[in-house]
């Protein structure tokens, strides 16, 4: 923007100095020119294309120029178009240009090779010629490249692995680029745009443009630690490119607390210690170190463990400890909930055990004793007061 502004200022300054000379005619250039940006193009047989031309007038009086195309191979249709219709002459004003389109219709049967024909613009005095070379190739090579910005990612199972891929369309036209990823089994891969959650199967890319696409890979919960290869593949019209990506899944211990054979209930007598087998399983993908055990129970209860801690549990292995639960003396009969926790460096698991507290039968026996005493009193009374 700024440069353009500066350029405009310079142009104005240049104009002001030689007292309002006509348009932006470059110094020293004068005359009529027939121009084209790309006078040599490549096409496929059976294709229609157009080459843009320009008839430029520098510092000359306007002049009518007749237009013609010569040397057109047989079977080809070549038409000069201007303003949307076929034209046969053009008349550029001084220091101005007229745009022309050369419409090419190449038959399917045209032979491979380069053909040249000439566009002529002429009046009585001037004759402008512009040779246009058309190369017929079997196929225009569509070309794609894909470059990952960060090809190696690392994280644990819960992390998400997002790769940003730069996809470049190196071919001469707009392509619909299909996206695919080849992942290990049960991995989930999805493509999205950089800041969009919509998943994509294909993305259109203009000729010569680059687009950033995000590939998100989600490993399954069951994936074990290790390096995994993911191949991202982009393809369009026969062209394809791949990028090798790497997932480095670091292992994560995951603990699970349970009773032996899944039994999470036990019986305990009030005031008496009872031991419950607790099985701690590491269902994760890395060994769990320094597993500490902890329990919470109603107030007045005691929970300890034998052993108190476990040094190491390998993945998919389990260790058994004894939880020693002592209900308080004052516990009334019935079911209580205790929670037993195992934790290993930020990873923890817990489960609730139901403890059925039974009370001591001592008082029941005492009751029997009381009835016995009452019966003894009766026997005594019978013996003492019984009459003949």
């Amino acid at each position: 923007m700024r440069y353009r502004f500066v350029a405009a200022l310079a142009a104005i300054a240049a104009l002001l100095a030689p007292a309002a000379r006509a348009d932006q005619a470059p110094k020293g250039v004068k005359g009529l020119y027939l121009l084209s940006d790309y006078p040599a193009v490549t096409l496929r047989p059976g294709e229609t294309s157009s080459v843009s031309l320009r008839l430029q007038n520098y510092d000359m009086a306007p002049e009518r120029l007749g237009l013609a195309v010569s040397g057109v191979p047989s079977g080809w249709k070549v038409t000069l178009m201007g303003g949307g219709q076929p034209v046969a002459a053009a008349m550029p004003a001084t220091n101005s240009s007229v745009s022309l389109d050369l419409h090419l219709d190449v038959p399917k049967s045209a032979a491979i090779g380069t053909r040249t024909f000439t566009v002529t613009a002429s009046d009585n005095s001037t004759k402008l010629e512009l040779p246009i070379a058309v190369t017929l190739a079997k196929e225009l090579p569509a070309k794609l490249t894909v470059t990952p910005q960060l090809p190696e990612l690392r994280g644990n199972l819960r992390a998400s692995f997002s790769y940003t891929l730069d996809i470049k369309n190196d071919s001469g036209k707009k392509l619909i680029v299909g996206l695919a990823a080849q992942t290990p089994q049960n991995f989930d891969a999805s493509f999205t745009q950089q800041y969009d959650s919509q998943e994509l199967n294909a993305v259109p890319i203009d000729a010569g443009q680059t687009k950033d696409v995000k590939l998100k890979v989600t490993p399954p919960n069951t994936a074990s630690a290790g390096r995994y290869k993911v191949v991202a593949r982009v393809s369009a019209e026969g062209a394809s490119a791949t990028a090798d990506l790497t997932l480095d899944i670091t292992g994560q211990p995951r603990l699970d607390v349970s009773g032996r054979e899944g039994l999470v209930s036990t019986r305990a007598v009030a005031g008496k210690q009872t031991s419950v087998p607790v099985v701690i399983t590491n269902t994760g993908t890395a060994p769990a170190d320094d597993v500490e055990l902890d329990g919470s129970a109603p107030s007045g209860w005691k929970i300890s463990f034998n052993p108190k801690a476990i040094d190491r549990i390998a993945p998919n292995a389990h260790k058994e400890v004894q939880a020693l639960i002592t209900p308080t003396d004052k516990a009334i009969a019935g079911d209580y909930v205790t929670t037993i926790r195992a934790s290993s460096r930020g990873e923890s698991a817990s489960t609730t055990f139901r403890v059925t507290v039974t009370t001591s039968t001592l008082w029941g026996i005492a009751g029997v004793g009381i009835i016995g005493v009452a019966l003894l009193v009766m026997v005594g009374a019978v013996a003492r007061f019984g009459r003949r």
Binding site: D335, T338, T358, T361, M378
Partner: protein
Amino acid sequence: MRREGSAFSGLGVVMLKELSDHLTSVRMRVLEWLVVLVALAALYGAVQQIEDTTAQDPFLFLRLFTTSRDPLPSFVSFISFLVPLMAIGLGFDAVNGEYNRRTLSRILAQPIYRDALLFGKFLAGLVTLAISLITLWLIVIGLGLLLIGVPPGGEEIGRSFLFLFVTIVYAGVWLTLALLFSVLFRSPATAALVTLGVWLFLMFIWPVLAGAVAQIIAPPDPRYLALGLQTPATAVTEQILARLSPSTLFAEVVVALLDPTTRSLGPIYLSQLQGAVLGAPLPIGESMLIAWPQTVGMIASAILVFVVGYVIFQRQEVRA
């Protein structure tokens, strides 16, 4: 003065005779009909209520005993009210009736000891009550099966059977009391009135009085009052006093046996409930343990009351 032979010779004769007298007496029949009709009404009310309201209950059958529907009280309340009446009705003229008919000395002229006479009368009364209560229990179970259509589980049968046993014990307590007064008072009318008076007092007045007496013995703490709570000491005292009444003991036993979620019959501190799974049923053994002290209290008091009556009877002049 050593006695020859067993003190219980002639016990069987006395018991069978008394039993046949009881079972054929008009008094017994009236009492039986009263109990059966009232129990059926309560049962009908309970079944209606269960059909209306209960969606799912692991102890549906026990609800037959404890559910009430206005204006009728529940089966259990009827039982705790009518069983003493039946026991008193059977026992109030056991000894003084014989005395007034001048048959006591005639019986004792037979080779029957006084021990056997009193034991026989008590056992006959108890067996009569047991027969009617077992019948009533079977009626309830049978009608429950018919009306609800859900078979009772083993634990429910066990619990209701224990309930039957405790009810018989409860009847025994009142029977021994009636026997005691029939020994004490020469006039059956006096004995009946005094026994009924004691029953009314223990059943209706004492539970109310116990609260008032407890407030005198252990005055409530104003700090608890300010919080709107009962002072623990007062609550405990009130409960100890109220438990002097057999009907309180019976009610507590029934709650423990027929409501499996009952964990304790005394006051509980909140700290004791921390972590407790509320509403979880107790195993039947634990419920028995909870109800056992009350049951022991009833059995022992029945024996002691009987012993008192026995001692008095042994020292009494029986010749008219």
